[in-house]
């Protein structure tokens, strides 16, 4: 039976090359774009190294100081008295509260003193990002993005090490001049990214660092790990580490023991910041430590929105709507084409029913044929998508972000194909399966 259906499907496709071309173009183009979008999502928000534990992460990128004052308006009136003299009369009006804020990354000192004692935490790390550093070799200069991190940074994020390994607590304690670099940095600086690089020296700024490990460049350019070179935070100059200011260049990231304990950890962080005693000479009177789970944090950062729920809604609702629209248009077109195609085969349906096919047989046949069409379109779309992903990654078209091709993406892709084939085939197939046999044979 299925052989017969398959044979017929392929013959029907060959019989109407233009229809087949239009259908396949619609399907493969849509699926290519969907696959690229899925791939981009997977690269940015997926469970990829070094974010395998992303559902346990709480990120605290910065803190905010606030001062709340009641707004007072002073109105001064001039009154002329009966005796002809003037008198000044002033009135104070109390308006809404005015909140003055100031925010930015925290100092190492603040993180060190206040962020080490939470209960619902398995690992935590402090890191200073966004530092530009120049590397020198044989009279050439290389620009790198430097991250200064605590040793536990390598416990929070599961980077994939190509060669060597991370630096450890003793390196942090002793401010050892070691560096972990990305494969791309290794290639830029040493010309190769292999085991021979481990143990070699790199001139970074005015100091020499020994290469401890080479990591795979992450798929995305998250500010959590956008560095080219990673060094122990204690190798920063003393002024950065010992500053008693609240602000500095550091952010913090926490790994809860389980995804379920993440909100308890956030409560602990909020409790700390609400009860933080501001320095007596501070102009501000309250502190807030921004913290959010990974995806919410991503949405907040992207949209510059404080409220994580609102940020999620603002980011995902338009994306979902756009995707639906993007899928709906070719889907409706395909349904329309299918109605015409099925109508042309009215007599065949009549014959099949006359010789014993029931409505379900006809329904299955047309859905099957449509799935064959969408699978062929899907295969073409898949090839296009793979080609485009490879082109985009090879030419760094999306900056640091590289599109991934994973089993997960492939499964999404298959689901989309089945959804497409099923939805676009079911309506016309259902209509024809109910057709009157005598009418169909007329």
């Amino acid at each position: 039976m299925f052989k017969n259906y398959l044979l017929l499907s392929l013959k029907v496709l060959k019989r109407k090359p233009f229809y087949t071309f239009i259908s396949l173009f619609g399907i493969s183009f849509t699926l290519t774009i969907l696959m690229l979008i899925t791939s981009l999502f997977d690269a940015t928000l997926g469970n990829n190294q070094p974010l395998t534990h992303r559902d346990r992460l709480v990120i605290a990128p910065s803190l905010e100081r606030t001062r709340t004052e009641t707004d007072t308006i002073l109105a001064v009136d001039t009154l002329q008295l009966k005796d002809g003299t003037f008198r000044l009369d002033s009135t104070y009006t109390y308006e809404d509260d005015i909140v003055s804020t100031s925010n930015g990354p925290m100092s190492y000192n603040f993180a060190d003193k206040n962020l080490r004692n939470f209960e619902n935490v398995e690992h935590y790390a402090f890191y200073s990002d966004g530092n530009h550093i120049d590397g020198y070799l044989d009279g050439r200069k290389y620009s790198f993005q430097a991250y200064y991190t605590t040793a536990s940074y390598w416990d929070v994020f599961d980077f994939s090490f190509q060669f060597g390994g991370p630096f450890y607590q003793e390196d942090e304690d002793q401010a050892t001049k070691v560096v972990v670099i990305t494969d791309k940095s290794a290639e830029a600086y040493f010309g190769v990214a292999d085991a021979s690089v481990i143990g070699q020296d790199m001139m970074l700024g005015d100091e020499v660092f020994r290469v401890r490990g080479i990591i795979d460049r992450p798929l995305t350019d998250s500010p959590l790990f956008a560095g080219d070179v990673y060094m122990p935070c204690t190798t920063l100059n003393n002024r950065d580490l010992s500053s008693t200011e609240l602000y500095g260049g550091f952010s913090a990231v926490f790994l809860a023991p389980t995804p379920g304990q993440r909100s308890a950890l956030q409560e602990e962080i909020n409790f700390m910041s609400q009860n933080f005693e501001m320095p007596p000479d501070s102009y501000h009177d309250a502190l807030e430590l921004f913290n959010s789970p990974f995806i919410e944090g991503y949405a907040q950062g992207l949209l510059n929105e404080r409220d994580p729920d609102k940020a999620m809604r603002l980011l995902f609702i338009p994306i979902v709507l756009l995707l639906l629209l993007f899928v709906a248009l070719p889907l409706l077109n395909l349904i329309n084409l299918n109605i015409g195609r099925v109508h042309e085969r009215k007599s065949e349906i009549g014959v099949r029913k006359a010789f014993g096919a029931n409505a379900r047989d006809i329904l299955y046949q047309f859905i099957f044929e449509n799935l064959v069409l969408t699978f062929i379109g899907g295969a073409i779309g898949l090839l296009f998508a793979l080609g485009l992903i490879s082109y985009i990654n090879k030419n760094d078209i999306l900056g640091i972000t590289r599109l991934s091709y994973s089993t997960e993406v492939f499964v999404y892709f298959l689901l989309v194909i089945i959804f497409f084939g099923f939805l676009s085939g079911i309506l016309p197939a259902y209509r024809m399966s109910r057709a009157n046999v005598a009418e169909s044979l007329r």
Binding site: K3, L8, K11, E348, V351, A354, G356, D361, L441
Partner: protein, 239 residues
């Protein structure tokens, strides 16, 4: 139509007993403004093993009657019994199975599926039975042999002449060994020589296999070759 499933596809009703019984069957086609009566209080009995032809002018209800006998159209009034089973429903799986097991159709315009080879076309009724692919192929080749077309099994319908197409359609109609064959002007699109050939095949089927055949025709000469001729006019039986 619940009793249909108990009938074996190869079981034959004894010759002489009623294979088709049409009692007081009327068929009206209605639109918003007009009602057309295609058949009026029609009564007809076709015996098992009989070869009946139906004649009449265009629009007299011949094809409608044939469609009602073939359970592909539903009467507005009256009852239909086939192979001893009274038909009570014209939808659903049971009626599809009954059509598959008891009935074979031959159409004036052949209605072959051009995308399938000759043998695949013949196999069609067996696809809706639990018959393995090898057995399907064997039975289909046997049916093609019966109509003298086994050498064209792998051809496609558009590679065949009109007469050959109709022979494929006959092979398709008999491959499932039905009790009844309903032929709607099977020679209508053929020249007289080819028409004779097709008629000979149908007569042979009727005499050798005992298949009950009801044939609608415009050709008096063909009709005279059958056991009995029924004439219709304006939806009524006139002889």
């Amino acid at each position: 139509m619940t009793a249909a499933s108990t009938t074996s596809p190869t079981s034959k009703t004894p010759a002489g007993t009623a294979m088709i019984e049409i009692s007081n069957v009327s068929k009206a086609y209605r639109t918003d403004t007009i009602e057309t009566l295609a058949l009026q209080k029609m009564n007809l009995t076709v015996a098992s093993g009989e070869f009946l032809s139906i004649m009449g002018p265009s629009g007299c209800g011949k094809s409608t009657l044939l469609n009602i006998m073939g359970l592909i159209d539903e009467p507005t009034e009256g009852t239909v019994s086939l192979a001893g089973h009274k038909i009570t429903s014209y939808n659903g799986t049971d009626i599809a199975r009954f059509r598959n097991e008891q009935l074979g159709f031959i159409f004036q315009s052949f209605h072959l599926i051009n995308d399938l080879s000759v043998v695949d076309n013949v196999e069609l009724p067996l696809l809706y039975r639990k018959v393995g692919s090898r057995e399907r192929r064997r039975l289909s080749l046997e049916a093609l042999e019966h109509v003298g077309l086994s050498n064209r099994a792998t051809h496609f319908p558009n590679q065949l002449s009109g007469g050959q197409k109709q022979r494929v359609a006959i092979a398709r109609a008999i491959v499932g060994r039905p009790n009844i064959i309903l032929a709607d002007e099977p020679t209508g699109n053929l020249d007289s020589h080819m028409g004779d050939e097709i008629m000979d095949i149908l007569l042979k089927l009727n005499s050798e296999l005992g298949t009950t055949i009801v044939m609608v025709t415009h050709d008096e000469r063909m009709a005279r070759k059958t056991h009995r001729l029924v004439r219709l006019s304006d939806g009524e039986r006139v002889s």
